[in-house]
C-alpha cells in the first residue's frame, strides 16, 4: 500500500482525497461519516451570512443513457446559521484531529467582515481556509463569488485582507469563467495566497424541458444560469490546472485540483498535472462517500505498480505540455487494424469516410460480414478510427518511422527545419 499522506501549502493530510465545498460537507454529521469512510479532508460548505435557497436546485445532463455526466446547480452558500456550523466544525476537529478540515468562506467585500469570519473559522479549529471567489450564480449578483474571481484586483485585495487576519494556510478557489486562468492565479499569489483550488463551476444553462420549454432546474416555471460540474468538465479543469502549474509566475504555487474527479484515474491526471490534493463533489453526490475506498485503493495500486511515490507523480506530466508550435511535425503514425479482433461493425469506416480523411476501405465479404482496411497512403494518423472502435486494442496507431529529423513549426519557419512528405490529399 503506497503512502498517500501528503502536504499542501503546509497542511498535512492523510490522503489527497478531499470533499469539495458543497452539499456533502453541509453538516458535521456528513463530514464525520465521510472521514469514517476514508476521506482525507473536507472543505466545509461555504460559510457567510446565511442565505435563503430556492427549492429546485439541480439539473443534469445524461449522455447516451449514462446519468449525470454533467451536473448544474443554482444553490447558494450555507443556509444554516454560522454558530451552528462553527460548533459542528469544532466537534469534528475534536473527534478527528488528524483529518483535514478546511473552511470555505465568502462574505461581502469589506475588510472587517473578512477579518471577523476568518477569526471565527480559526477559533473553530480550521486547518486552513478556502476563499470562494468562484460561485458563478446568485452570489455574484451580490458582488461576491465569481464577481470577485473575475477581477484580478479584487482577488488580490481580498486575499490581502484575509491574510491580515489568518494564521492558517489560505487557498483561493478560482472561477473558470474567465478567459485566462493565469491572471486570476497570479493575482491570488500576489495577494499572499498559500495555494489555489480550481475549478469552481462553469456558468451554464443545463437545458430545457422541451415539453414545457422551461429551463432547468425550473423554479416555478423559471430558472437562472447555474454552475456546471461533473465528469464532463474534467478536461477544462485539467487544462487550467496545468496552465497555472506551468506558468513561470505561479510555478510551485500549491494546487488543489477540482472538476469531474470520479475515479482514481482522474486523480492521477490531476496530480500528474501538478495538483497536491483533489477535491470531489459530483461523484459523491451521485454515489456517496463510499467511493473513496476505490479512489485510495486504485491510486495506491497504481503508484505501487509504477514504483512511484505520490510526490514523484506530482507534476510528472507537466514538462510534456507544450505550445503547439513546438510539436514534432515529422512524427508520423498510421492506423493499424487487427483483423483478428475486428468484429466488422464498420464504425471506423463511417467515421473516417464522413468525418475525417477517407482513409478506410470497407467491403462486404462473401460471409456477409464487413471487412475494413486502412489505406496507408491516405491515413493522416488522426486517431479518429481508434477512438470510435468499440473493441479494445483493435485499432492501434503505430509509428511510421522515417529518416527525417524532428521538425516543429517553429523549426520549420524559423530554423530551416525540413518537413517529411505527407500523404497526398485527393
Amino acid at each position: 500500500m503506497a503512502d498517500l499522506s501528503c502536504n499542501i501549502a503546509g497542511i498535512e493530510t492523510p490522503n489527497p482525497f478531499w470533499l469539495a465545498s458543497a452539499p456533502p460537507t453541509n453538516t458535521g454529521d456528513q463530514v464525520m461519516r465521510a472521514f469514517d469512510a476514508g476521506w482525507g479532508g473536507a472543505v466545509w460548505k461555504t460559510l457567510g451570512e446565511p442565505i435563503v435557497n430556492v427549492w429546485s436546485r439541480y439539473g443534469a445532463v445524461d449522455i447516451n443513457g449514462t446519468k449525470m455526466m454533467g451536473l448544474n446547480n443554482i444553490e447558494l452558500i450555507t443556509d444554516r446559521p454560522l454558530d451552528v456550523n462553527f460548533k459542528e466544525i469544532r466537534e469534528v476537529k475534536d473527534r478527528y484531529p488528524d483529518h483535514t478540515v478546511i473552511v470555505s468562506l465568502m462574505v461581502e467585500s469589506d475588510p472587517d467582515a473578512w477579518h471577523d469570519i476568518v477569526q471565527r473559522a480559526e477559533d473553530a479549529g480550521a486547518d486552513g481556509l478556502e476563499l470562494n471567489f468562484g460561485c458563478p450564480h446568485g452570489m455574484s449578483e451580490r458582488g461576491m463569488g465569481s464577481a470577485v474571481g473575475q477581477v484580478p484586483e479584487y482577488t488580490r485585495q481580498i486575499t490581502e485582507w484575509v491574510q491580515e487576519a489568518a494564521t492558517v494556510p489560505v487557498l483561493v478557489k478560482l472561477t473558470p469563467n474567465i478567459s485566462d486562468i493565469r491572471y486570476a492565479a497570479r493575482a491570488a499569489k500576489e495577494g499572499g495566497a498559500d495555494g489555489v483550488s480550481l475549478i469552481n463551476t462553469i456558468n451554464s444553462i443545463i437545458g430545457l424541458d422541451i415539453d414545457s420549454l422551461e429551463p432547468q432546474p425550473a423554479v416555478n416555471g423559471k430558472s437562472s444560469h447555474g454552475g456546471y460540474c461533473g465528469p464532463a468538465v474534467k478536461p477544462i479543469a485539467l487544462n487550467m490546472v496545468s496552465q497555472i502549474a506551468n506558468d513561470p509566475d505561479t510555478v510551485g504555487l500549491p494546487i488543489s485540483g477540482i472538476g469531474g474527479v470520479s475515479t482514481w484515474r482522474d486523480a492521477v491526471e490531476f496530480i500528474a498535472l501538478g495538483s497536491s490534493t483533489v477535491q470531489v463533489c459530483t461523484a459523491v453526490m451521485h454515489y456517496g462517500f463510499r467511493i473513496v475506498e476505490d479512489l485510495k485503493d486504485g491510486l495506491s495500486n497504481y503508484l505501487d505498480e509504477k514504483d512511484m511515490t505520490l510526490e514523484e507523480l506530482r507534476g510528472y506530466s507537466l514538462p510534456k505540455i507544450h505550445n503547439w508550435k513546438e510539436l514534432d511535425l515529422n512524427f508520423a503514425v498510421n492506423a493499424q487494424i487487427n483483423q483478428e479482433k475486428c468484429i466488422g461493425c464498420g464504425l471506423c469506416y463511417t467515421a473516417c469516410e464522413d468525418g475525417a480523411h477517407q482513409a478506410i476501405h470497407a467491403e462486404r465479404r462473401d460471409d456477409g460480414r464487413t471487412y475494413v482496411e486502412v489505406k496507408p497512403d491516405a491515413c493522416v494518423g488522426c486517431n479518429l478510427c481508434s477512438l470510435v472502435c468499440p473493441v479494445d486494442g483493435c485499432i492501434e496507431m503505430v509509428e511510421i518511422p522515417n529518416d527525417f529529423d524532428p521538425c516543429s513549426w517553429e523549426d520549420y519557419t524559423e530554423n530551416d527545419g525540413v518537413l517529411a512528405p505527407r500523404p497526398e490529399h485527393q
Binding site: 443513457g65 449514462t66 466488422g344 470497407a362 462486404r364 456477409g368
Partner: protein, 442 residues
C-alpha cells in the same frame, strides 16, 4: 414442473419478453454500435433499419423509431414479441463477436412500437393513400394477408380480407405461445391495422361462403394467404378417443379461454412431434400445471427441427424429452385416454425401424399431435390452373407471383411454414408487385 396454483398458472403466461422501462431502454439503445451495413438488418426478413430505430430510441424520438419499424413491418409490435430473434437479428449482432450479449432488439422494438400500436394515436403514423379505384381481395386474414393489405391501402387500393374464422390474425392470434403474446394483444394490433383502412370480413370462407370466381369478378387481383391446415391424424389406433387432440386446437383454446378452465392440474400429457409446435405444446402444457409432460419424438435430438432456445425453455419448464420413440396406439378406458403405447426406433441404413420387444406404455391423460400441419389442397384446387408443389404448397416467385395472372400468394401456404415476420415480408412484397402490375395496366 411449473407450480400449478391458479394464480401461478396465470403468472406462467406473463410476457416472456417483458416491456423495458424507459431508462433500461435508453441504456440498451445506447449499447448498440450503430454498425455500418449492419448484419442485424440483413438478418431481418423485413429488413427493418434496426440501428436506425434503436438510435431514435436513444435520442428520445420514439414516434420516429416506431415509424422506422412499422414502415418495414406493419406487425412490428407482434414481431417484437414473437420473432425468434435469437435466430434472426440478435443472432447476427456483432456483439457476439465481442462475447457480449447481443443488443436486445426485440424488446427495444416493443418499446418503440407499443405506444403507437396500443395506446391510441392522436396523429396516425400511417394513412391510406388516395384511392386509385382498384380493389384487391385477400384470402385469409393472417400475417401474410395483413402485411399485403396494409401496404396496398397505403398505395391507394381497396383491400378486403376474407377470413373463414370468426376473428382475424390466423396463427398470430391463435397459435403463438401465450407467454410470448396473448390473443388479446394480437387482436388489438389488428384493430390498429384496420384503422389504416384494411377491411376484414370474418366468417367468410372462400370456396364456401364466397367463390373464387366471385373474387375474380369483383376484384382486380387476388392474394392467397391461407396458411396451412390443422395437424391431422397420424394414423394409429385409438386416435378417436377423447383426449387426443390437434395441438393447434389445444393452443387456440388455452389462448382464448380463462386459464382456470384449461388448467391441466394433476394431468399427464404426451406431445407427439419434434418441431417448434411440439415444443410450444410441451411448454404450455407444463405452464398450465400438468404433472408431467412428455415430448415423444421418433428420431434423435440432432434431427429435431425446434429451435435450441425453445427446447431449452421447454426443458426448464420440466418437459421430458423421449427420443427415438414412435407412438403406435392410444389406449383408453370409458372413452378417455389412459396411455400411449410406443416402441423404440433406430435408424438402420438411413431408414427408421422399430426395435423388437421395445413396446412400452406412457401413462398419460392427453395426447397432443404436433407432427406437422396439413396443406389446404382442396381450397387451392379451386383456383383453377394454380401451380402447386407435390407436397401441397403454392408455387410463387420472390414477388409472390403465382402461375395465374393477377393471383399472388405468400406466407405459410407458399413456404410450408415459417415465421410471422416472413409472412409479413412476403405479403408486403406481393403488394408492391401487385402495384407494379396493376399500374402497368393503366
Amino acid at each position: 414442473m411449473s407450480d400449478s396454483s391458479t394464480n401461478q398458472v396465470s403468472a406462467n403466461f406473463s410476457d416472456y419478453k417483458p416491456a423495458l422501462d424507459n431508462n433500461a431502454a435508453l441504456a440498451e439503445s445506447n449499447r448498440c454500435l450503430n454498425c455500418y451495413d449492419a448484419p442485424c438488418i440483413r438478418a431481418c426478413p423485413t429488413a427493418i433499419d434496426i440501428p436506425g430505430f434503436i438510435k431514435k430510441i436513444a435520442s428520445g424520438n420514439l414516434r420516429g423509431s416506431a415509424r422506422v419499424i412499422l414502415e418495414s413491418n406493419i406487425l412490428g409490435a407482434s414481431c417484437a414479441r414473437v420473432c425468434p430473434t435469437e435466430e434472426l437479428c440478435e443472432g447476427a449482432c456483432v456483439m457476439h463477436d465481442l462475447d457480449e450479449k447481443p443488443i436486445d432488439i426485440g424488446r427495444l422494438q416493443r418499446h418503440a412500437t407499443d405506444p403507437v400500436v396500443f395506446n391510441g394515436e392522436d396523429r396516425p403514423l400511417f394513412e391510406a393513400g388516395s384511392s386509385n379505384g382498384r380493389r384487391v381481395a385477400l384470402v385469409g386474414a393472417g400475417p401474410a394477408s395483413l402485411g399485403c393489405a396494409a401496404e396496398l391501402v397505403q398505395l391507394g387500393y381497396e383491400a378486403v380480407c376474407f377470413e373463414k374464422a370468426d376473428e382475424p390474425g390466423g396463427l398470430n392470434s391463435f397459435g403463438i405461445a401465450d407467454y410470448k403474446m396473448s390473443y388479446e394483444t394480437a387482436i388489438k394490433e389488428i384493430e390498429w391495422v384496420q384503422q389504416l383502412g384494411v377491411e376484414i370480413r370474418c366468417g367468410q370462407e372462400v370456396g364456401q361462403d364466397i367463390t373464387v370466381e366471385q373474387l375474380y369478378e369483383d376484384f382486380d387481383a387476388v392474394f392467397i394467404g391461407v396458411g396451412l391446415g390443422g395437424v391431422g391424424p397420424i394414423g394409429i389406433d385409438g386416435e378417436e378417443i377423447d383426449g387426443v387432440r390437434d395441438s393447434l386446437e389445444f393452443i387456440a383454446e388455452l389462448k382464448t379461454k380463462p386459464k382456470q378452465e384449461v388448467a391441466l392440474r394433476g394431468k399427464k400429457v404426451a406431445v407427439i412431434g419434434g418441431g417448434n409446435t411440439a415444443i410450444d405444446a410441451v411448454t404450455q402444457s407444463a405452464r398450465l400445471g400438468a404433472d408431467r409432460v412428455y415430448l415423444v419424438y421418433r428420431r434423435g435430438p440432432e434431427a429435431m427441427g425446434a429451435y435450441e432456445h425453445e427446447q431449452e425453455l421447454a426443458r426448464k419448464d420440466g418437459g421430458i424429452f423421449i427420443y427415438n420413440t414412435q407412438p403406435v396406439e392410444v389406449l383408453g378406458e370409458d372413452g378417455q385416454v389412459t396411455g400411449l403405447r410406443c416402441v423404440r426406433t433406430e435408424t438402420r441404413h438411413g431408414s427408421l425401424e422399430y426395435i423388437d420387444g421395445s413396446d412400452h406404455v406412457l401413462d398419460v391423460d392427453y395426447v397432443l399431435r404436433a407432427t406437422g400441419q396439413s396443406k389446404l389442397t382442396s381450397l387451392l384446387e379451386q383456383f383453377e390452373g394454380l401451380a402447386i408443389e407435390d407436397w401441397g404448397t403454392v408455387i410463387a416467385d420472390e414477388d409472390g407471383r403465382t402461375s395465374l395472372e393477377n393471383v399472388w400468394a405468400g406466407g405459410d401456404c407458399v413456404s410450408g411454414g415459417q415465421e410471422v415476420v416472413n409472412a409479413v415480408a412476403e405479403g408486403k412484397r406481393a403488394a408492391q408487385s401487385i402495384h407494379e402490375n396493376l399500374q402497368g395496366e393503366r
